[in-house]
């Protein structure tokens, strides 16, 4: 692996209880929080902090657009489980990270975002590059702060990291006015933040665990819906133990993929709009639905009127507000997924009589597997994804953008391990996948990181090719190029009588030339027979690669639950 990625210059830890500037406090605090990488972009209001970055040598990755920096921080957080740190300037710098903050909020990613701000003396006067970032980000952060005095700064930073990383993770913004970052004050970094209004519950109520255990024993048709909460809690081993003990099939949300081994015989794959028939039917027919760390997103549930009509619903979530928000819940379990499953395994309930149910589920899996038509003159994007799976032995870190390629990746890449799957689920942010891959590579320098992207989404943040070039970062960019906004085109075909309004790109840039302009290896594939060879070459090459793979332009994602339909009304379940 490239040495430049590993390079972390020595950071000097200054003693506490001494006078220092606000910006120095920030860097000292980051060191104490074990932050090894900052993703960011400088500008006027944040210059004092950048001066401190220069002087201490803390690793800073310069994106070419602030959106790239924040998505990289998200990718880093998703893969490492550590908070992603993003530093930007005031005004436009800050507003450029708004999309990423909203994305991290809805997908529960721990971020600490430091935005420069104009000096306190001019806040509120529409000063140059002033934006009310506190007001703007209030609804899309777990919490936000503005440091009004330098004395407050250490406490605020400590609280920001604490809030971002505990309970249900999420993004926290620290707005740092320029004068505060210059002013000097006493630096203390207390370990225990004092936040009486913020006390996440980790240990579930024993009574609820007992109720759930009893329900498991009684159930004849149980199913688990496994969400990203499993990943955040690091609960995969406990989930596996529980499932094997109880023999309960597992459907996963898009974001939960990898929380339970994708190749396990009890794995049903993804549930929801483009989920598998077996996963959706299991949810529909179940008499016990155990949701662990998922939030019943509408893309998962389909029409709520038809959702799990016969099921007793149990819901384990560290965020009590998720329980009962969408679905009436009979067995609420507030707490950490790992702890809840550990307690359940301790109780070790007698498994229910569900042999016939498992046979039924098996039958669905055999009868209605994912399918696509092979053997046409075009490269099939599904086949492409399968080949990526094969050539990486299912062990790569995969990031995606948003659209058809994302659904195919979710369907055909069977993640056996947690934290190898990085995708924008809740917000569905185009432009996410490529910078997220950069962040993921920093989190896991020795692993193969593959960014599977649509040709359109890539063009939203492709300026970050500069980072690959500059650091020779070995991210592999695979464009599933259908010369269209594939997912939009699919909906226009199905629901707007093929009126392809603004969704086709017959004329495209030469992506190979573009890669080469950044001194990056570029490939273009148009023939299915070339795919395996090029992938192999790319994965064996220790450096960045862009592969422009021309796929069948009219391919649609199936199966599908059309808008307004229920799980039992899937379409395109067979060829």
């Amino acid at each position: 692996m490239n040495t430049r990625v590993r390079e972390v210059k020595g950071r000097e830890l200054k003693d506490e209880n001494q006078e220092m500037s606000g910006s120095s406090m920030l860097i000292q605090a980051l060191a104490r929080e074990n932050v090894d990488t900052i993703f960011g972009y400088p500008g006027g209001a944040i210059l004092p902090t950048y001066d401190e970055i220069y002087r201490t040598g803390i690793r800073h990755i310069l994106s070419r657009h602030e959106q790239g920096a924040i998505h990289a921080a998200e990718g880093y957080a998703r893969v490492s489980g550590k908070p992603g740190v993003c530093v930007v300037t005031s005004g436009p710098g800050a507003t450029n990270v708004v999309t990423g903050i909203a994305d991290a909020m809805i997908d529960s990613l721990p971020l600490v975002v430091v935005t420069g701000q104009v000096a306190t003396s001019v806040i509120g006067t529409d000063a140059f590059q002033e934006a009310d970032i506190l007001g703007i980000t209030m609804p899309i952060t777990k919490h936000n702060f503005q440091a009004r005095t330098v004395e407050d700064l250490p406490r605020i930073i400590r609280e920001a990291f604490h809030i971002a990383t505990t309970g249900r993770p999420g993004p926290v913004v620290i707005d740092l006015p320029k004068d505060v970052s210059i002013a000097s004050g006493m630096f203390h970094y207390d370990d225990e933040p004092n936040l009486p209004g913020y006390q996440p519950t980790y240990t579930p109520n024993k009574l609820q665990i007992r109720k759930l255990a009893e329900a498991v024993t009684k159930a004849k048709r149980p199913v688990i819906l496994s969400g990203a909460g499993i990943l955040h809690a690091g609960a995969s081993p406990e989930l596996l133990e529980f499932v094997e003990q109880q023999q309960i099939p597992v459907a996963s949300t898009l974001l939960g993929l990898g929380g339970f081994p994708g190749t396990h015989e009890l794995a049903l794959g993804m549930a929801g709009m483009h989920g598998t028939y077996a996963a959706n039917m299991a949810l529909h027919e179940a008499d016990l639905l155990i949701n662990i760390g998922a939030r019943f997103d509408d893309r998962v549930t389909g029409n709520l009127e038809h959702f799990a009509p016969q099921a007793t619903v149990a819901h384990i979530d560290v965020d009590p507000a998720e329980i009962g928000k969408i679905i009436e819940t009979h067995i609420p379990v507030v707490g950490d997924a790992k702890e809840a499953l550990r307690l359940l395994n301790e109780v070790n309930p007698q498994p229910g009589e569900s042999v016939r149910w498992r046979m039924k589920v098996d039958e669905w899996q055999q009868e209605f597997p994912l399918w696509y038509k092979e053997g046409s003159e075009y490269i099939k994007p599904q086949k492409l994804t399968e080949l990526v799976y094969e050539k990486t032995n299912g062990e790569a870190i995969i990031t995606t953008d948003v659209g058809q390629h994302q659904m195919w990746a979710a369907q055909y890449y069977k993640f056996d391990h947690p934290n190898a799957w990085v995708t924008s689920g809740g917000l569905g942010t185009m432009g996410f996948g490529f910078p997220a891959a950069i962040g993921a590579q920093f989190a896991e320098p020795d692993r193969q990181v593959v960014a599977i992207l649509g040709d359109a989404g890539f063009q939203m943040t492709m300026q970050e090719l500069s980072i690959l070039q500059e650091l020779n970062l070995p991210v592999k960019v695979l464009l599933v190029n259908n010369a269209s906004l594939g997912m939009v085109r699919q909906w226009q075909q199905l629901f707007y009588e093929e009126r392809y309004s603004n969704s086709l790109f017959p004329i495209q840039p030469d992506f190979v030339k573009m890669a080469e302009a950044y001194d990056i290896k570029g490939y273009k594939i148009t023939d299915e027979n070339e795919v395996a060879g090029v992938l192999e070459e790319a994965f064996n090459y220790n450096g960045p690669v862009v592969i422009d793979c021309r796929v069948h332009e009219e391919e649609n994602v199936y199966p599908m639950i059309a808008p307004g339909q229920g799980h039992h009304q899937m379409e395109g379940v067979k060829p």
Binding site: G135, P139, K142, I163, G197, D319, P320, A321, G324, E328
Partner: protein
């Protein structure tokens, strides 16, 4: 259903913004919000009167409030023994001939006339919502020119007797 919820919150800048923003973006239906200081200068107390369709809706309001870092404690006090008060100022059209009549009318409510003009009087009333509304209904025939209500602020009673069910009518 109409519920009365109180919350103690950190008295930080923007806290009101956080709460009202939360209500707006989650489409929670609020009738009134009051906020003010408490015996502790670092803590404010808010009282909300909300309209929710069912228990799950109510749970969401409470849980979402609780999720805010600056919210210290949330309570639905509707069914508890509480004292709830609001203040209303009502400007009523009157000729000089009707003033006596109005004075008689408002006396049982222990309302007071706080301003007198040539064609109007302004009445101040304090009490729980049914009382304030009963008075407003009585004054409506005279022509209400302007009205301002503070919204309810509420407190639990020191002694736990059941909710007071006083009703006000024309014949008090």
């Amino acid at each position: 259903m109409r519920r009365t919820i109180t919350a103690t919150v950190n008295n930080t800048t923007g806290v009101m913004n956080r709460i009202t923003g939360l209500f707006a973006r989650r489409h929670f239906n609020i009738e009134s919000i009051t906020v003010g200081m408490t015996e502790n200068p670092e803590v404010s107390r808010m009282t909300f009167v909300v309209n929710v369709s069912d228990q799950r809706g109510l749970d969401q309001v409470i849980k979402q409030l609780n999720k805010q870092v600056d919210v210290l404690k949330v309570r639905d006090i509707t069914d508890e023994a509480i004292v709830a008060r609001e203040l209303a100022m009502i400007k009523v059209m009157t000729g000089s001939g009707q003033r006596g009549e109005i004075s008689d009318l408002i006396a049982p409510f222990r309302a007071t006339v706080i301003d007198v003009g040539r064609e109007s009087v302004t009445i101040q009333v304090t009490g729980d919502t049914p009382k304030v509304e009963a008075l407003i209904d009585l004054l409506r025939p005279y022509g209400i020119k302007e009205m301002a209500r503070t919204g309810v602020t509420a407190f639990q009673r020191a002694t736990k007797k059941s909710n007071d069910q006083t009703r006000y009518s024309i014949i008090n």
